[in-house]
Amino acid sequence: MIIAKTMGGVRRRLALPYWTLYFGIGIVIVWTALAVFAPIVAPYSPDNQILTATLQAPNSLHWLGTDNFGRDVLSRIIWGTRVDLLMGGLGVLFPFIIGTIIGTLAGYYGGWVDRILMRLLDITMSFPFFVLIIAIVAVLGAGLVSFFIAVALVGWVSYARLVRSQFLVLKKADFVTAARSLGFSNMRIMLRHILPNAILPAIVFSMSDAVIDILLGSSLSYLGLGVRPPTPEWGLMIAESQNFMGSAWWMSLFPGLAIVILALGFSLLADGVAQRLGVAVE
């Protein structure tokens, strides 16, 4: 398999130290574990309202404090991981699949498929991503499903663009000419020869995209257009905390830190993988 490489020397100088990749992997693994094992790890149930213990600052019983309903903040954060990770995961998966398929077709066959794609691309790129998502969610009704549909409808474009440009370059490569001269069918060349190489930048991008989707999903929930209460979700928790800003800083701070740390994990992952594969990002 031929790996598409950039000027290795330049990238190495600009890159983060090698251990950051592992740090990123570690963060993501820890959060995933928390999500999967939430019922076991979380000290309380996320809906458990202890009305005698509302708005408590962090203490030995509640390490991150309690909210206005007496619910344990730490437990809600742990359970919330499920939602936010899902947002990053599925929010990337659907656009990835759709975009790769369309990008492959457009890049390989060219012609009118490509032209239509480029026009669609121009149009979608001129829409503020966030505004378009909100508009679609407004139409479909608030909720996680709407979020995924909206992201799939809008987000496939970036992946299509990446895959397409790789195809445009690679289909002229020597190994493709060789494959064709050996009589391989178009489909086979497309899928087994070019695609493994072409998909690399898309894979790298998907990790930065996960960050975007997590931020997007939590922002939507903050606005009230995403996950509905009482589901624990980090953005929603921050929204709920706003009325108690003056008295309960822990309600706002910790969910946000969770978002930052998870996003950091994916960012480091993205940078690290890009560095390893020698693939140009952005």
């Binding site: 330049v10 100088r13 600009l14 983060l16 026009r119 669609l120 121009d122 149009i123 790129m125 001129s126 829409f127 503020p128 991503f129 966030f130 505004v131 378009l132 909100i134 508009a135 679609i136 407004a138 139409v139 479909l140 960050v211 997590i214 931020l215 939590s218 922002s219 903050y222 606005l223 009230g224 257009l225 953005g235 921050i238 929204a239 905390s241 706003q242 800003m245 003056g246 800083w249 706002s252 701070l253 969910p255 946000g256 978002i259 930052v260 740390i261 998870l262 996003a263 950091l264 994916f266 960012s267 480091l268 940078d271 952005e282």
Partner: protein
């Protein structure tokens, strides 16, 4: 002279894009469940109003025809009537534009200033402490949700320290500056990491460029080499990113305006969604999209004017 032709011809290329935007917006609204007339006018609409809107927008005609009605109205500036505000949508929007524009410009200015300073500091001390700090902060910064930063600032500077107001727009220019400082700072915190990363990378790359070596060989001082060669070439590369980021930003002001209750277009959009004032939602979406197209256009012009290699 060829460059000026570019500036004139570009808007023509944008027409299909603008048509696409109007089409998408149109489709979105028509996907809403229920009878379009009631959707747009609300449940308590009078029969007369319903009849009026049906003729204005051709609501009982096939969908393609409706689109043309829509476009025609659009070109005449008829965006419909807001259910909530009981006024023409155009007017409602006009009343909300200024805070958003002010906020965006304010935020962008702070971002640009901060990014340039941080990127230069990092590039000058490549591989050493300051550089590493900037890089770490930038990477962490990529994951900061704007709404959370806003809330934290609000808590810290607004409530605990009481230096800045936590909502509203204020009166007069300096009032705006004061009231919008925290929102603008929030926006800056969201934008600066990515700008800094990119500018820093550009700077480091240009520092190794051949023409920089040639400039040094002429005996020019490091300061002159930095400003007239390295910085200029790097900024050019970053202008394009700035355009993309501002586009993002326009979407991001939605959240920031909600956090700080700034009466701008973003706030209008969200509250209109909740109050089912769909004509307003539709119009704001289009205006924001137009804003992005406009910004990208300006960026294209700027690039064409600044880069002598762009030949058209």
């Amino acid at each position: 002279m060829g460059r000026f032709k570019f500036v004139l011809l570009r808007p023509i290329e944008l027409i299909p894009v603008l048509l696409g935007i109007s089409a998408i917006t149109f489709i979105l609204v028509h996907m809403l469940p229920g009878d379009p007339a009631h959707v747009l006018l609300g449940p308590r609409a009078t029969a007369r109003a319903i009849a009026a809107i049906k003729s204005e927008y051709g609501l009982d005609k096939p969908i393609f025809v409706q689109y043309f009605y829509f476009l025609a109205n659009l070109l005449h500036g008829h965006l419909g009537r807001s259910v909530v505000y009981k006024a023409p949508v155009f007017q409602v929007i006009a009343g909300h534009v200024v805070p958003t524009v002010f906020l965006v410009v304010y935020g962008v200015l702070i971002s640009i200033a901060a990014s340039i300073v941080l990127a230069i500091m990092a590039a000058l001390s490549e591989g050493r402490i300051i550089d590493h700090t900037v890089r770490v902060l930038s990477t962490v910064g990529l994951g900061l949700p704007a709404f959370w930063i806003g809330v934290v600032f609000m808590m810290l500077f607004g409530i605990d320290l009481g230096w800045f107001p936590v909502s509203g727009f204020g009166e007069g220019f300096w009032g705006h500056v004061h009231y919008l400082f925290l929102p603008a700072l929030t926006i800056a915190f969201a934008m600066t990491p990515i700008l800094t990363r990119n500018l820093r990378a550009s700077l480091l790359q240009e520092t190794k460029a051949d023409y920089v070596l040639a400039a040094r060989s002429k005996g020019l001082s490091p300061r002159v080499v930095w400003i007239t060669h390295i910085l200029r070439n790097s900024l050019l590369a970053t202008v394009n990113l700035l355009g993309v980021t501002v586009s993002w930003l326009i979407g991001g002001t939605v959240v920031v305006e909600m956090v700080f209750s700034v009466p701008g277009l973003g706030h209008l959009m969200v509250s209109s969604i909740f109050s089912r004032d769909y004509l307003v939602v539709e119009a704001v979406t289009m205006i924001l999209a137009l804003g992005i197209v406009g910004t990208n256009f300006l960026v294209d012009i700027a690039t064409a004017l600044l880069d002598p290699r762009v030949n058209l």
